[in-house]
């Protein structure tokens, strides 16, 4: 359990343009493991929403199932939230969006929730250019069910069980890009300087805004080659089939300059190389982006930042030509053709 909030409230807390304090954007207490990357992302969302002057009740938060999918409870307590079923958040978000085009939708998912069971829905929500901020809290494993490899785990990476993943990991950014996502970014849970502005930008984007956030699972993304991690603990108390001991960890953080590469050491001792796109990077050239993603991944580096942005895209409502007011505000008088029309229609059926 992470106690990310202090209960102390300064009498003159800074407020945003709407007059709300940052605390107004918080959620209930997190029940995730201490140091879990997901909590850092929740904190970044709180900050981004605060800074972007979002009205919380104009936001709907949706998620699937998983540790990551629990997090919408941990930010924006004044927004309606919906913790749906595993892998199917995109469809629920699509329906919600159809009902009310004026709310801002934040979809939170995990790599299991999106890249395995939810792959079909992810692909199709992307393709429809649903107007949503879709965040995958990507830890390369199934946290909530105790550490199985997810489909984003890199080939050769070791899960809790110690067996290397035999399959190619799925690069969700590359996939989203190919399927027509109109805002594609990647970041790291510990890099709030990068993440908060990305979230703010994504919230402003009209269309499918995808952010793949690397978010270490401190409990299960464990490398047996490492001298750290709970492998050591296992030596002391032979593991049962319940995960018996989870050390308390500190949140991982990092900060690095645009255009530079940063090595981040994870809790399990493994090292991840992040490369931040620089100022001159062209976010509108789709095929160049694809190439860069491939290039960096071949070098073993992970490209972070805003990777692609198409500002002119048409979202699902525009594609369908729906009316400008939210459908859920239309009244009986707008919707029901009435008795006379029906009599006329009957006439044609005789």
């Amino acid at each position: 359990m992470t106690f990310i909030k202090s209960t102390f409230r300064h009498p003159e807390l800074p407020t945003n343009e709407l007059g709300f304090t940052r605390q107004y954007y918080e959620g209930v207490l997190s029940t995730l493991c201490a140091g879990c990357g997901h909590d850092s992302i929740s904190a970044a969302i709180v900050m981004a929403a605060f800074e972007a002057n979002i009205e919380p009740h104009k936001v709907a938060k949706l998620s699937g199932i998983g540790c990551s999918s629990k997090t919408p409870a941990y930010f924006l307590v004044n927004s309606h939230g919906f913790n749906t079923v595993h892998g199917r958040m995109p469809s629920v978000a699509t329906g919600a969006n159809m009902a009310n085009r004026d709310l801002q939708y934040i979809g939170i998912s995990g790599d299991g929730d999106t890249a395995s069971i939810g792959m079909g829905q992810f692909v199709h929500a992307t393709r429809r250019n649903l107007n949503i901020l879709y965040i995958v809290e990507n830890n390369g494993c199934y946290g909530l069910t105790k550490g199985q490899d997810s489909a984003t785990a890199d080939r050769g990476s070791h899960s809790k069980k110690g067996a290397p993943s035999p399959y190619e990991g799925i690069d969700l950014c590359a996939l989203a890009l190919q399927l027509g996502a109109t805002f594609v970014a990647r970041s790291f849970s510990g890099d709030k300087h990068q993440l908060i502005p990305l979230i703010k930008a994504a919230l402003k984007h009209k269309g499918f805004a995808f952010i793949d956030v690397i978010s270490p699972c401190v409990t299960f993304n464990n490398n047996p080659g490492s001298t750290k991690g709970y492998e050591h603990v296992r030596d002391h108390l032979a593991a049962t089939n319940t995960i018996d001991f989870v050390p308390e960890r500190k949140e991982l953080t990092t900060e690095y300059a645009e255009g530079s590469t940063q090595q981040v050491t994870l809790h399990d001792g493994s090292v991840m190389a992040l490369h931040k796109v620089d100022k001159n990077y062209d976010v509108s050239n789709k095929s160049a982006v694809s190439m860069s993603l491939l290039d960096y991944s071949e070098r073993g580096e992970i490209l972070t930042g805003l990777l692609y942005h198409d500002e002119e895209s048409q979202d699902l409502h525009q594609s369908l030509g729906t009316t400008d007011v939210p459908l859920n505000t239309l009244k009986e008088s707008d919707l029901c053709p009435g008795g006379d029309a029906l009599n006329k229609l009957n006439q044609g059926l005789r």
């Binding site: 009740h57 927004s79 919906f82 913790n83 199917r88 008795g339 029906l342 005789r350």
Partner: protein, 609 residues
């Protein structure tokens, strides 16, 4: 030869090849009988492919008003060489076989007890039309012309329909009328017209209309204010969403800018389709999806979520023959249990069973009221027979005073006025139904976190056993409330007192009504009860209680409605006798009567033995 002689009591079957333009001609035939004031019940019997396989269209005319299927084909119009040999066998003794005699028929296929009427359809077409497509298409119109003579259909009635139909494409009217005349004239010139089978004008239609159930359901959704439809194509439900689109285009688009007061999303599969409905309903729009068997299976996880998270959902299940892929183009009523208890865990869902297009319309509209009042899924179980065939139906009606029942939804003012802490899952009214809020309603009040996992009255996550139990007990209480809100059954009591009942639902009605008449003639008098909703109302319970023996007629193998009755009403199983039809074809009155008689024969025998 001893020909069947009949007036207004006919079964005419057309044997065509899928995709050769026969459907419109056949519809024309049925509509002309309808216009002559005669009850008709046309049925498409089509294969699960697109082109080239045999397809049949069967029209029953009955001035007794029976709309169920009847066996014994009085006249077969066969233009499909592939099925011809079998089609000839399917004609009743004394019946007629009408065929294209441009090529001669195999000598061995002729039957002595059937009158063969050859029409040179191909030759007439080649002689009168030059466009190869017309040469193919007008064969069908020609046989309608011939039938007008053979069956004594008023010719003007047919030509009027043609004229209305092509009002906007006038150049097509003359060639169509020519085809009708070619057929009529050839028949008159070569055969005794009318034959021993005839129709005569009656005044039995009144203001009734002719329409299929799927269009009617779609129209009901439009009237009920559904703005979001999410679906995945599947036979026989597809035409329902197609019709919804067409009606929305007609009634819901801005005349000026073409902007739509609706959104139809073709989902990537059924899981996504119902997920979208859940999302839209949660967010305060009226939404629905339509599907068939396999889709229902795929939707079951989401149905469980909606039941537990208390999100309204409207689902039209146009049933087809199961299990698995089954026969996608044949009818059945076999998803009753799958829908009633869909999903793992303790779940129960509200079901509605329409049996006419009018009722598809009404119940479709009702589904939205019920789903929102009860905050739970409502599944309307139609079937292929009702959904995809045209039926004579009471006309649609809409009371302009009627108001949508949106259920317990708090708006911003109500939230401001609350004096006590609001709890999303708090049963403040004692009916098991809590008050909900729609996202975006109020800046600081009424937000909550919806989930399929255990929560307390205030929507706070908990794994507390007592809180869990309180919650599912409240859902059970809500189920009791549902019994008072769903549609009452329809009862038709016999004139004389009887201890025998006959229950049925949906499209089994037509065969059941006819069967009741026939049984009465055999001195088996039955009271009738048509179930229209699940859970069952108190009146249904009484009906069962008041009869020693109740036959339950339905179109599935496992007597699924009977199971529900036994289970939910705690009826001794012996009191309910199953009458079943499950071969994919609509149930007939004859079939019901046979099973009833068999029941008595067996039970008397065993009583005697």
């Amino acid at each position: 030869m001893n020909n069947v002689t009949a007036v207004n009591d006919l079964v005419i079957r057309f044997a065509n090849v899928n995709g050769t333009g026969s459907a419109s001609a056949n519809d024309l035939f049925a509509k002309s009988l309808f216009r002559m004031g005669l009850p008709v019940s046309p049925k498409n019997i089509f294969p699960s492919n697109i082109q080239g396989l045999p397809t049949w269209y069967e029209v029953r005319v009955s001035d007794k008003g029976y709309l169920g299927r009847r066996l014994n084909v009085d006249m077969m119009i066969s233009v499909n060489p592939q099925s011809m040999e079998k089609d000839i066998k399917d004609v009743r003794s004394g019946g007629y076989f009408v065929y294209d005699n441009t090529k001669p028929l195999a000598q061995s296929w002729f039957r002595d007890d059937v009158t063969f009427i050859g029409l040179p359809l191909t030759r007439l077409c080649l002689e009168n039309y030059s466009d190869p497509r017309q040469q193919q298409l007008f064969k069908n119109i020609i046989y309608v012309g011939a039938l007008s003579a053979l069956l004594d259909i008023e010719f003007d009635v047919i030509t009027d329909i043609i004229k209305e139909k092509f009002a906007s494409k006038e150049k097509l009217i003359p060639p169509n009328i020519l085809a009708l005349e070619l057929g009529r004239d050839f028949a008159k010139a070569n055969y005794a017209c009318p034959s021993t089978l005839r129709v005569e004008r009656r005044d039995m239609i009144g203001d009734k209309i002719l329409i299929d159930g799927n269009s009617a359901a779609a129209l009901g959704a439009v009237y009920a204010g559904a703005t979001v439809a999410a679906w995945y194509p599947i036979t026989p439900s597809t035409s329902c969403v197609d019709a919804f689109g067409a009606y929305c285009k007609q009634y819901r688009e801005d005349a000026e800018d073409g902007k739509k007061n609706y959104a139809i999303v073709q989902a990537e599969d059924e899981l996504a389709a119902i997920g979208m409905v859940v999302g839209a309903m949660w967010n305060g729009a009226r939404a629905f999806t339509a599907t068939s068997g396999p889709g229902v299976s795929l939707m079951s996880e989401f149905l469980g979520l909606a039941y537990y998270a208390e999100v309204p959902v409207v689902l039209f299940n146009i049933q087809r023959t199961g299990p698995s892929t089954g026969m996608p183009t044949r009818t059945q009523q076999s998803d009753v249990i799958a829908c009633a208890y869909a999903s793992h865990g303790d779940t129960k869902h509200v079901l509605l069973f329409p049996s006419t297009p009018k009722e598809c319309f009404d119940m479709a509209a009702e589904s939205f009221d019920l789903a929102e009042q009860l905050q739970t899924p409502v599944i309307m179980l139609s079937d292929l027979d009702l959904g995809m065939n045209d039926w004579i139906s009471e006309p649609f009606a809409w009371d302009d005073q009627r108001e949508y029942k949106r259920g317990k939804v708090l708006n911003a003012e109500q939230l401001d006025e609350l004096t006590e802490r609001w709890g999303r899952y708090n049963d403040t009214d004692g009916d098991g139904i809590p008050w909900r809020t729609i996202p975006g309603t109020h800046p600081t009040k009424g937000s909550y976190f919806t989930r399929g996992a255990s929560r307390d009255e205030y929507a706070v996550y908990t794994e507390d056993s007592a809180a869990y139990k309180r919650n599912v007990d409240r859902l059970a209480l809500k189920w009791e409330t549902a019994k008072t809100l769903v549609l009452e059954a329809e009862f038709r009591l016999a004139a004389t007192n009887t201890r025998i009942g006959l229950m049925y639902f949906g499209t089994t009605e037509n065969a059941a009504l006819e069967a009741a008449d026939r049984l009465a003639a055999d001195d088996v008098v039955v009271d009738l009860c048509r179930i229209r909703s699940f859970p069952f109302t108190a009146a249904i319970e009484e009906f069962v209680g008041e009869h020693d023996l109740v036959f339950v007629a339905e179109q599935n193998r496992d007597a699924q409605m009977r199971t529900l009755l036994i289970n939910e009403l705690e009826v001794p199983p012996q009191q309910l006798a199953a009458v079943l039809n499950y071969d994919g074809m609509p149930i007939t009155a004859g079939n019901i009567c046979e099973q009833v008689h068999e029941y008595f024969a067996t039970n008397e025998k065993s009583a005697a033995g």
